[in-house]
Amino acid sequence: MASARGKEQIRTWLPALGLLVLFVIVAECLLALLRVPPYVLPKPSSVAREIVRSVSGLLKDAWITSLEAVAGFALAAFAGMCLAVGFCLSKFVERAAYPLVIGAKCMPLVALAPILAIWFGGSSLAGKAMMAGFICFFPVVVNMRTGLDAIEPEALDLFRSLSASRLTVLWKLRLPSSVGYLLSALKTSSTLAVVGAVVGEFAISDRGLGYRIVQASYTGNTVAMFASVVCLGVLGVAFFGVISLVELVLLRKFRLGVGMPNSQ
């Protein structure tokens, strides 16, 4: 059983790893062959050396960006879920607030960043967390709202026939059915939270991977920029992986959201 599961894991991850290794080899060879200057596009080996050289600084800044992304993600998840439940319970609230939510989503992030910096100050985690939360709350609202309505009509009839209150229907029928949709949105939001944290750091910060990228750009150090970008990619993948693991546990062990999107 364990070896079968292990083989399944290898089959899942091997193609992606293989493609990554192939891409790195092709890029290394092409960039060397064409003699592309490192300040235009550095070779993967140069980026790897820079990562090793600056590993402690990168880890420190990655931790800062992670905190901002996680805080923003948590804020977005909580706010998004509350909004979705509110919309489900009251059509009036939904009709009034949904267009405002959509409008807020359309606001350009780079315009919002300096405003948040003014409100919260440049050093604070709060401003960057708000930025991360702002960018990733919309998928949570939309997906969970859809999930709350994705219940079987027969099940709803049964609850009503037993005189179940709206809150009981919400707690025992709608919320369990929305878990698959919610988890799908959280996976999308996990990577968006990293983007939001970095945009906040671009706008104003003195630490974090986004700040490192700005710093490297000022000094013309393209290799250092790419090292930070690679770390951001790893951070995004790790965050996505954590949410996927939570999804796996919830869907398999508790059979929540069975029959819903992404349930196995």
């Binding site: 592309v36 235009v40 596009l41 910096a117 003014i118 750009s217």
Partner: protein
């Protein structure tokens, strides 16, 4: 079998496409050809450090007054910025000549970019701290306990850091906060002062602030500011074009020195939302920085000042290994016309 062949074919096409894109990027790095052909103006692209404004008005003046045309050049003056880094664009050949900070040029060279300065606009640093007059701050000795907005990882921060060290003052006694270009936290009283350039004073005054200037050059900091630069490849292949460009460019600065009240109308040709009054005020604060030694043309550089500029980067920890100063600059193409 046919599915595998299709996958292989798609992969091969992707690899070839990537190789073509990279080859195009590399070929754009080739220097442009030199020489004027039969009286046709030679196209030159010039990338500013930031947006159109009084601190970089020489090229705008030269373009609008026809100085570039007089030299047989068709110059495209392009705005710089975070997304349009003049150093990278000139190093890669996307632009021919650029404007950047002297310290940035040193750091770029230390990272492999083959750039060389051909003229210095600002003979000394424009970096300063602007403090609200109601804070009572008039010198670095007053900084302790005050709230300072710091533009992080820019030359203002490095020079502030070195100035404090050289004066024996403790930077940790200052309540620092990172800021960018918005002055709201100064205007609304959350900050007493901020690190910036002398040219920003009129912008602060336009927001209702009364300001004291603590200019770093008055406290032991000596550094070139903006410099005109190009790549070694472009310079070696087009020395005459660079010479003619600089002749027109510094003629533009001379015109600005002689006609400061008209600079607003020039800038508005390129940036319609510019305020003539603010731009003239900015220019009047900038002009003293252009003054060279007696008898030397505008833009003239010395090894001593370049060494001082580099020394600040070493003392602030930005530069690990000093570069060979003579390789950083050349005065050969300054005509002094």
């Amino acid at each position: 079998m046919s599915v595998k062949r299709s996958v292989l074919a798609v992969f091969a096409i992707l690899v070839i496409a990537v190789a073509l894109v990279v080859a195009i990027l590399v070929n754009r790095g080739e220097p442009t050809s030199s020489g004027e052909e039969g009286g046709i103006a030679v196209p030159v692209s010039f990338r500013l450090k930031w947006s159109f404004g009084a601190t970089s008005c020489a090229a705008l003046v030269a373009k609008s007054q026809g100085f570039f045309e007089d030299q047989g050049l068709d110059v495209a003056v392009r705005q710089g910025g975070f997304e349009y880094d003049s150093k990278k664009l000139v190093a890669s050949g996307a632009d021919d000549i650029g404007l950047t900070g002297a310290d940035e040029l040193i750091l770029a060279r230390s990272n492999g970019m083959p750039l060389v300065a051909v003229g210095a606009d600002f003979q000394n640093t424009p970096c300063c701290i602007l403090a609200r007059t109601d804070s009572g701050v008039t010198s670095p000795e007053d900084f302790a306990g005050e709230r300072l907005g710091v533009r992080k990882e820019t030359n203002v921060e490095y020079q502030y850091d070195v100035m404090m060290k050289r004066l024996g003052l403790n930077r940790e006694a200052v309540k620092e906060e990172p800021i960018k270009f918005d002055l709201t936290r100064v205007v609304d009283g959350h900050l007493d002062m901020w690190t910036t350039y002398v040219s920003e004073k009129p912008l602060g005054e336009a927001r209702g602030l009364e300001l004291n200037t603590i200019w770093f050059a008055d406290h032991g900091i000596s550094s070139y500011g903006n410099v005109v630069f190009t790549s070694e490849g472009y310079l070696s292949q087009n020395p005459d074009i660079v010479k003619r460009f600089l002749a027109a460019y510094y003629r533009g600065w001379q015109w600005a020195i002689d006609n400061p009240e008209r600079i607003g109308e020039v800038i508005r040709q390129f940036s319609p939302q510019a305020s003539p009054e603010v731009e003239t005020a900015v220019l009047e604060l900038t002009l003293p920085l252009l003054k060279t030694e007696e008898g030397k043309p505008l833009g003239y550089m010395t090894a001593k000042r370049w060494q001082e500029t580099q020394q600040i980067l070493v003392e602030s920890g930005q530069l690990e290994t000093e570069l060979d100063v003579p390789e950083l600059f050349t005065n050969e193409h300054l005509t002094g016309d």
